[in-house]
Symmetry: C2
Subunit: 212 residues, 2 copies
DNA sequence: TGTACATCAGTGAACGCGCGTTCACTGATGTAC
DNA sequence: TGTACATCAGTGAACGCGCGTTCACTGATGTAC
């Protein structure tokens, strides 16, 4: 059963519209990544076939395969950031806002496991993500601000600072997301993300530990 | 620079000792996985070359490549379980025991990132890990017992039960481990695992929430 | 108003490569008669 | 005590495959004179 037996040759773009194919390539790559979930199995030939174009045509718009994959990852990362912000809109309580962000993060990951895998779980996923880049990313920056807000209202502790606490929150949400994605056959409870995030944030709200 | 230019042909095993090569194949595969960190790049040819044997010799001991990789994963999983148990020996306080288990888990993962990747982060890693298998695994079973102990002494809440709480603890530890492995260039604080686990367990120790 | 030319958006065939696996074989060693 | 034979632990060469990428090319379309 060859599912890709439809050549469906694409019409050639008119004179000035060469960049049009570029967008279609990105879209097709994103789609293929979503269905296969494995960067390795998304081949230049498969992408070209999905768009209805010959493999070398891709090199008119991207220097190599890595550049194409990277662009798709960047797009997905933006979508993840948008999904989180959208979820946090209009949530007044700063604690609730933190929880809602965490849920949105996990939901995005579980609903797009293959893309999440490409973003954070594939070998060398974060290789290009340096400290400055990540900190300037809207997603992480927004989370830091949300933590600061919760801290300034006295709702949570944030030690030693908001950045460290944001990292911890990220780790907790990432833990639920990547575990559910990585071990999918296990009967994870529906409310795993809720419980973990609530317990963690409760740990942040409780009085400072008295240890030395 | 070909590092594998040493053929170093291995001596043929004596008559009854055919299984000897089997062990050497497993050891070499484990070693290669540890250095490359990617199952895809650990090829039949590379394994055979590392042992000093021809590629087809592998098929005298394993039906296919998957069977060999799976056996190596199972071994590593056992080592992870052992490392956790060893760390928990002699820790009387049940809360401290939970924390110590979490640290040991994260430490194992960070010290053996490639093996951890093969165990839990590669595509299809947990595909073969069904609920019953995992529950009967010593590693997860021990964690459940540790949670029960902490619950019975009144040190923590465990809702709805110890199994669910064990899953949550796993998710939290896995979060730190896989994030540090997945985004290695980010300046993670040294004590990220400590802080996350402590905060989470503090959330478990605090009084039950009053929400409806 | 016609024509030579440049440009653009691609195509078709082929490159070398490494992969997992198969197949027919070899040669030492033990065993039966 | 010698010899034919079975078995065991491998080997060497080759299979078909899909991969990323390159190279020479095509043919429609706009532009300069």
């Amino acid at each position: 059963m060859k599912t890709s037996s439809t050549p469906a040759r694409r019409l050639r773009a008119p004179r000035g519209q060469g960049g049009q194919l570029r967008d279609e390539l990105v879209a097709a790559t994103e789609r293929l990544l979503a269905t296969t979930g494995d960067e390795e199995s998304v081949s230049i030939r498969a992408i070209a076939n999905a768009v209805g174009v010959s493999p070398p045509a891709i090199y008119l718009h991207f220097p190599d395969k890595d550049a194409l994959i990277f662009e798709v990852c960047a797009l997905r990362f933006g979508e993840l950031a948008d999904a989180i912000e959208e979820a946090a809109i209009g949530v007044a309580d700063p604690i609730e806002a933190l929880l809602v962000r965490g849920y949105a993060y996990v939901r995005f990951a579980v609903e797009h496991p293959e893309q999440y895998r490409v973003l954070f779980l594939r070998p060398g996923a974060g290789r290009k993500l340096t400290a400055d880049e990540l900190r300037s990313t809207s997603a992480f920056g927004n989370l830091i601000r949300a933590v600061e807000e919760a801290h300034q209202t006295g709702a949570i502790r944030a030690e030693p600072d908001a950045i460290a606490t944001a990292m911890e929150l990220w780790a907790v949400a990432h833990g639920v997301a990547s575990l559910v994605i990585g071990v999918p056959d296990f009967p994870w409870p529906e409310d795993l993300a809720d419980r973990v995030l609530q317990t963690y944030v409760r740990g942040l709200t409780s009085a400072a530990v008295s240890s030395s």
